[in-house]
């Protein structure tokens, strides 16, 4: 059976939506020196996401793991979505980001910082540094991040976001494009 060519299909789109381009399994092994490397597999995007995760963590983990002296340290299943207008022009400076700080529960001392690269100047107060929470776009994002539901935003240790704390402009690390000349 032949699947469609998802990246090509995505590139032909409208420039508005993000298209599901790939589902990728990455099976990570750890060797005796602690070095990790992976086996990568791609699944058809038509496969149900739960079935894809199950295939990675059980079926392929067992089959592929039997070939290696190194034990599996991690099994990842990635769902990649791409913009269907990949060459859109921007004028932004990515190193200047808006940083939103949240507190978590059940450990209020835990914090999560969300960086939004090249955040619009209209999202800051007159001082140009403090994030303006009365801005409707900012308020909508904060509400979505704190919204109860099936998928709860948390920190890396599974502490769920409790409240918005503060927001400010800051400089963030970026990856520069590869040299071509």
């Amino acid at each position: 059976m032949c699947a469609v060519w998802p990246l090509a299909a995505a590139a032909a789109g409208s420039g508005v939506t993000m298209a599901h381009a790939q589902t990728i399994a990455r099976l990570w092994y750890m060797d005796r020196e602690g070095t990790e490397d992976d086996t990568r597999l791609c699944y058809p995007t038509s496969i149900d996401p739960e079935a894809a995760i199950a295939a990675s963590t059980s079926f392929y983990a067992g089959v592929v793991g039997a070939l290696s002296d190194s034990p599996l340290s991690c099994v990842e299943t990635e769902f990649l979505y791409v913009d269907d207008a990949p060459n859109a022009v921007t004028t932004s400076d990515l190193s200047q980001a808006g940083a939103l700080l949240f507190r978590c529960e059940p450990a209020p001392d835990d914090q999560v910082r969300l960086s939004i690269p090249a955040m619009l100047t209209s999202c800051y107060l007159a001082d140009g540094v403090t994030v303006d929470t009365t801005n409707t776009a900012i308020a909508a994002l904060i509400a979505e991040l704190l919204a109860p539901g099936a998928a709860m935003v948390c920190n890396p240790f599974e502490s769920v976001l409790l409240s918005y704390e503060a927001g400010m402009r800051r400089t963030i690390p970026v990856e520069f494009p590869e040299a071509t000349g």
């Binding site: 993000m18 750890m30 602690g34 086996t39 995007t45 991690c74 769902f79």
Partner: protein, 171 residues
Amino acid sequence: MAVQPMPYLIVFKWKDREGTIAYTSINIQNRPVLATDVQSKAAALVPLLKALSSSHLVEYRIISRYEDPTVTGAGEAERKGKFFFTTAMGRAYTTQVPGFKDSLLDTNGRLITVRGTGVKPDIATFTNAIINGPAGWGNSAVNEGGQSIVAVTSAKKVHVRSLATRSGRSG
């Protein structure tokens, strides 16, 4: 110890006019939650994030992660079994297995038999799993372009440095 569920990771990738890249990362509590719920959350966040930035949101990844926090490493990651497949449209596809077992190599210590007689059972199980997929899928694994993988062509042992970096790792 078996792998355990970790928080989902959603990574939004931004690009400016010079091709410079930056990321926004969000964790989603893992269990109990369906992957489709995480997909819905990510889709809901896309327009909200886009509305705040003057840069271009080029892609995002939803990453389901299962880790074994107690794993003790073994073998050598640089010793890889490299497998060559072909797709339904005749394109080559390769994948590799780090820390490849010596016992699965041919007597010459370099090649791996994948066709005809003398194919070791674990090798046959692996290549069949790539070509046929799990039971009930009705499809094989695919290449990066979405073309179904239909046949294995050859395999060999190679030594390749391990340069991959796993998401969620800081060190």
